[in-house]
Amino acid sequence: MKILLVEDTKDLNRALTVALEHEGYSVESAFDGEEATDKIMTNGYDVVILDIMMPKKDGIEVLKDMRSRNVVTPVIMLTAKAEVDDKVLGLDAGADDYLTKPFAIKELLARVRAMARRKNGYDSEMIEYGDIKLNGGNFELSCENSVILSAKEYELLKTLIRNEGKVLSSDYLLEHVWREDDGANEDTVSLYIMYLNGKLNGIASNVEIAGKLESGYCI
C-alpha cells in the first residue's frame, strides 16, 4: 500500500515515515501544499496523510483541490489545534478522518489500518448466504454455476442479504440501492427482484426472494 505523507515539520515527517515503513507501507513525503498537490495529481496513492497548517498552500486547499478533480483517495488530516471548527472544515472539505496533534504514532497507524480495511473491504467483499456466494470484486453470483450481476442487481441482493429476514419496502430499496436515480420507481424494483430470482434459479440455488410490490421484499 502506498501512502503520501504531507507534513512540513521535517523531524515529524521523518519519524512518521520510519514508523509507517516499519509497518510495511511504501511512503512518499511532501513538505508543502504545492508539492502535495503535484504528487497527488501525478501519482496514485492509497491513503494521504495531510497536515493542515503548511507553507505555500494549506491542507484544506490541497484537499478541496484534489476532491474537485475527482481524486477520491482516503485522506487522514492532522490538525494542530483541537478546535471543532478546524475538524468540521476538514471533514466538509472531503477528509475521511482526522487526528489532533500531538498524537500517538500508534493511533495514526491504527487509523491507517482502518482506512485500508474500509477501502479493501468494498473491493473484494465476499458475501456468503445459504448456498450462494456473492463476490463484490466482480459481481459474480455463484452456486452450482455462476452468473455476473449488473451493478444494481448486486447492490439490491447485497442489501437484501444484509437485512436477512426483514421485509424491505420498495421505497427503502429505492432509497438505498437506486439513490439519486430519478427514473427508478417501484416497478423497477419489482423487475429487478424478478431478475434476481431468475438468476438464483439459473445457478441452481435454493435461495429465493419472497414478497410483492405492495408488501415489500425479503430474503
Binding site: N145, I148, Y195, K199, A204
Partner: protein, 197 residues
Amino acid sequence: MESLYGSNIARLEEVMDYLLSEINSIRNQMMEEEGLDPVEHCLSRIKSEESMREKCIRKGLPVTTDSALNKLYDAIGIRVVCAFLNDVYKIKEYITSLPDCEVVEEKDYIKHAKPNGYRSYHLIVRVKETFAEIQLRTISMDTWAALEHHVKYKKDIKGNEELFTKELKRCADELASTDISMQIIKDRIAKLPENNN
C-alpha cells in the same frame, strides 16, 4: 472403400428429416401462439464418414457400421438455436414427449454449466432404432460456443490460455445473466394489456 454407414444412409436421412419436421411443427405452433419465431436457426447434418472414422478411432472403437450407428450417438446431429431461454425448454419438452422418440440421455448444461462456462441442452434420442444427438441453446450460448471453439483451436495464444479461459468464462456468465433478464423482460411485456390501436 465401403461406406461406413453401410446401407443405412437412407434411414439416417429419414429420421433426421422426421425430427426436423417435428421441430418445424412446434416452431409454427409457438409462432402462432406468441407471434414470435422461437427458433433463430436450425442446423442439421449427417456426420461425414471421415469424421465418424476419426471419432471411432479416438474413442477406441472398431471402425465398423455398428460402432458408427450404435456405439456412437451423433451420426445424426441437430442444433436448434433459440431466441429465448424458455424456448429451449419448450422445444426440448416437445421433442422428448414425441411418442416414437425414446430419450437415451438428457444433459442440462444450462442449469449445470460446464466449468469453462459452456451452456447448452444436450439430448440423445432414439427414433426407429436410430440414434440422434440434438443440441438446443440460445443465440448468446451459440455465439459464445463459436468463439470458444475458435480460441481453443487458435495456436498462437499459448501462454495466454489461462487469461482467455478466465475471460471467456466471465463472458459466458454475463451472457447467461442477460439471457435470464431478456426472458423476464419478454414475459413482463407479454403480461401487459393488449394495445387495441
